[in-house]
Every structure is written in structure tokens, then in C-alpha cells.
């Protein structure tokens, strides 16, 4: 059972990474796309132990780093930090699917700010200008919208289920 769950989570994350780099490479709001990988990571954290969740987040971030032109480790660090916040606060998000969606948006906001800040420190990004401000505002909102659309799925993942265990 445990290995089956690991396979399901791996598949979810693989699909999220693929959709992120291909589908959201075309479908964007302005030039800004949601962060689907972060949503998938946060949601799957409900079914993983804290350390496993952190290592998984690190791996996903590293995969995205490898696919980008920016420094290897930038997104790995961001996702790990977001996941750490997620595993420490996930009980509070259990108030309901809508609360979970807002929790995802808040974590996304933290992730975007951290990515911009660390990226700027390492000379990979510029933490200023209208475009960055737009990203800080729009990416969490897009993730909130996706979170709200995924309300039934969120409820299903949060509820104890034999199938997903």
C-alpha cells in the first residue's frame, strides 16, 4: 500500500511538472502562470511525513531548476521552505477546502517572495519593477483560483480514504 501511495504521489508531481513547463508555457495571464507544482506539493504533503515531504519538495524544485536557466538550487530552496511552512501549519488548513485554498495562496505568496529575494541575492532575478510586483500579486491569486476549483479534490485528499492510503 505504501509503495502504491508513493507511486501515486510521484505520478501527481510528474504530471504537475510536465503541465507547468508545457501547458502553462502557453496558457498565461499576461505573461504570468500559476505555480501548479507548488499546489501539488502542498496538497500531497497531507499524505507524507514531514521529512519525506521536505525531500520531495527539494527534489521537485531541483527538477524545475534543471529545466530553467537559473541557478540549480534556487527553486529547490524555495519549495523546501514553503513545504516546511506547509508541514508546520497544515492542521490549521483542515478547517475546510476553501480555507485550504487560501492557505495554498498564502504559501504561494511566501514562495514567490522568497524566490524573488534569493534570486536577487544570487543575481538571477531582479526584485523590483512592475513585472515582479505583478508576479507577487498574480501568482498567489491564480493559485487561489486553482485551489478553489480543486475544492472537491482537496476535500477528498484531506478526508481519510482507503484508496489513497
Amino acid at each position: 500500500m505504501r509503495s502504491r501511495q508513493a507511486i501515486v504521489i510521484t505520478l501527481i508531481l510528474l504530471v504537475a511538472v510536465t503541465v507547468q513547463v508545457s501547458v502553462f508555457g502557453r496558457f498565461r495571464v499576461g505573461s504570468i502562470a500559476p505555480d501548479l507544482v507548488l499546489i501539488a506539493l502542498v496538497l500531497t504533503s497531507f499524505r507524507m511525513g514531514p521529512s519525506t515531504a521536505l525531500i520531495t519538495a527539494f527534489g521537485c524544485g531541483l527538477a524545475l531548476d534543471a529545466l530553467s536557466s537559473e541557478a540549480l538550487g534556487l527553486r529547490a530552496m524555495t519549495y523546501t521552505a514553503v513545504m516546511f511552512a506547509a508541514v508546520r501549519t497544515k492542521e490549521r488548513a483542515n478547517a475546510g477546502p476553501v480555507a485550504t485554498a487560501f492557505w495554498i495562496a498564502a504559501l504561494t505568496l511566501g514562495g514567490v517572495l522568497l524566490l524573488g529575494l534569493v534570486g536577487t541575492l544570487f543575481g538571477q532575478l531582479q526584485f523590483s519593477g512592475g513585472q515582479m510586483l505583478a508576479r507577487i500579486v498574480v501568482i498567489p491569486l491564480l493559485n487561489l483560483a486553482i485551489g478553489l476549483v480543486l475544492v472537491p479534490a482537496i476535500a477528498r485528499i484531506q478526508a481519510p480514504s482507503r484508496r489513497f492510503r
Binding site: T18, R28, R47, L54, A76, V87, G129
Partner: protein, 300 residues
């Protein structure tokens, strides 16, 4: 997965942060080479098949949605293009006469124009990482003769950027608007340095440092004959607003012709031309030309 009896999340978190910082430092210092470069190539190779399938499914849907959204704008653009076509046909008529005259003069002087055919490789854009990264991946790589440094143009022949990395079956292209390396360009009779503006998707900044003169809004910026990285005369963008030099230097914003976010296919140019590079003693990467995937004379 839920078997963590004790919570080791804090030490794990700190270890992973330290590892990420170490990786970033190493990657920045090694400039993407070495073992970390190999890891990048491996990850791109693994994900490429998924990206190709996703592009195959997504692109028609994205085009349909995009066309619906742009319907009104397309009608207006169509009208404008018709008017422009009429003007160009009138101008073409005058040029035909001049070309005939040029042919005669060349024949008289036994001149032969030195036209350089540049081999080009068409490639599909198959992926972008996220909102922070303007680079994109294409589905042609080393096996098609695409190597790091090759210039990339769009279907209209406008300059997109250059190949940053190339691997088996893929390459990463960095657009000029996001490139840390400046391009040598010409506007009017002035030669300057054109570089990206951090945080902007479509604007560049042109610096002319010596004997600069004023420039006008709408003036076209093209790659210079003095550029080693790009072939000459490839259109890049246009001056955003009138500008006059301060002292001997001129700094002015340039709007890029290419919308990097909407690119679906590009042409990778085999530049520097291997033959020219040998004669000019310009170092050039080893290329493998695959005749089935190359065309000549396009772009720029």
C-alpha cells in the same frame, strides 16, 4: 510515507537549505558547466518526451483560444496589412526598375555580391519553466547541429536570442531581453550595445558610447556588422521614444519586435559560419549538419 515516528523535519529542513545554497553557489561559480551541467542535461532529456506530447495536445487548444481572443484585433490588423501591402506593391514596382539597373551595372563592373547563406534549423518551442524564467526549450539539439551560441530568429526573421545550452534532442534558448550578454547593434549609422532590462519582458536598453547622435522613436535597430555573436542586419526592435545624447553617450529604450511568450517555432542559425570562422580565425564550436533538418538562406 507516514512512517516518520519522530519529527526530524527541522534538521532535514536545515540540511536541505544548506545543500540548496551550496548547489546555487557551485552552479553560479561554474557558470552551468561540469557535473551540474550534466544534471541539467539529464533532467531535460528525461522530461523532453513528456513535453513533446504535452505540446502536441496543448498547442492546438492554445492557438484556438488565442485566435478567439484576438479576433477583433486580427480584423483590424488585417485591414492595416492590406493597406500596407498596397503601399509595398507600389514601392516594389520602383525597386524592380532599380534592380534591373543594378544587374546591368554589376554586369558592367563584373561584380558579384557576397551573399552569405546561413544554414538554419527549424525547431519547435516545447517548454518554459515558470513566470520568472524567460528562457525556453526547443526540440532540436546537438544531433541537429544546434550548439551553444547559435543565434535564434523567429518566423519573420526577427532576432529572438541565442542558444544557451544544447543537449541530445533539446536546447535552451535565452532571449535577448533576458540575456546577460549584450548584442552589438546598429541604429541609423550609430553602433551601440543592446542589453536586456531586468524585470522587463519586451524592452531592451541601447547604449551608444562614442560620438552619439540623436535617435527618433520608431527607428529600427538591427544587428551590426561588428557583432561576432549574430549575423549582421537582423532586425531586433525599434526605438521607443526620441532621445538625444547626454555628453557623448546615448542611452535609449528599445522595444523588441519578438514577443518571447508567444513563440511556437524558431529558426536556429548556424553562426558563426564554420567556413567563415576558419578563414577569420574566429573560434567556433564543432557542428554536425543534418541535411534533412536544415534549410538555407533564412532569417536575417
Amino acid at each position: 510515507m507516514r512512517d516518520d515516528r519522530r519529527d526530524h523535519s527541522l534538521p532535514t529542513f536545515i540540511s536541505l537549505l544548506a545543500l540548496a545554497l551550496m548547489l546555487m553557489t557551485l552552479d553560479v561559480r561554474s557558470q552551468g558547466g561540469g557535473l551540474l551541467g550534466t544534471i541539467r542535461n539529464g533532467a531535460n532529456g528525461v522530461l523532453k518526451p513528456f513535453q513533446v506530447v504535452a505540446s502536441f495536445v496543448v498547442d492546438p487548444l492554445a492557438d484556438f483560444a488565442s485566435n478567439l481572443g484576438d479576433l477583433a484585433a486580427l480584423r483590424a490588423e488585417n485591414e492595416a496589412l492590406r493597406a500596407e501591402l498596397a503601399d509595398i506593391q507600389a514601392i516594389q514596382a520602383t525597386y524592380e526598375d532599380k534592380l534591373a539597373r543594378l544587374d546591368e551595372l554589376e554586369a558592367l563592373l563584373s561584380l558579384q555580391l557576397d551573399l552569405t547563406d546561413i544554414a538554419s534549423t527549424p525547431a519547435n518551442v516545447i517548454g518554459r519553466t515558470d513566470s520568472f524564467d524567460l528562457t525556453f526549450r526547443i526540440d532540436k539539439g546537438e544531433e541537429s547541429g544546434v550548439v551553444a551560441g547559435n543565434p535564434v530568429v523567429d518566423a519573420n526573421g526577427y532576432l529572438v536570442g541565442r542558444v544557451l545550452e544544447s543537449g541530445p534532442g533539446f536546447a535552451i534558448v535565452v532571449p535577448l531581453v533576458a540575456d546577460v550578454e549584450a548584442a552589438t547593434v546598429t541604429v541609423g549609422d550609430q553602433v551601440g550595445s543592446l542589453s536586456g532590462v531586468l524585470g522587463s519582458d519586451d524592452q531592451l536598453v541601447l547604449d551608444v558610447f562614442d560620438q552619439a547622435g540623436p535617435v527618433l522613436a520608431g527607428q529600427q535597430v538591427v544587428t551590426s556588422t561588428q557583432s561576432f555573436a549574430y549575423p549582421p542586419s537582423i532586425p531586433v526592435g525599434e526605438i521607443v521614444a526620441d532621445a538625444t545624447p547626454v555628453g557623448r553617450a546615448l542611452t535609449v529604450r528599445v522595444r523588441a519586435f519578438v514577443d518571447v511568450r508567444s513563440l511556437r517555432a524558431v529558426l536556429v542559425l548556424a553562426w558563426p559560419d564554420p567556413k567563415a570562422a576558419i578563414s577569420d580565425d574566429i573560434p567556433t564550436p564543432t557542428t554536425t549538419t543534418v541535411p534533412a533538418t536544415t534549410t538555407t538562406g533564412a532569417g536575417g
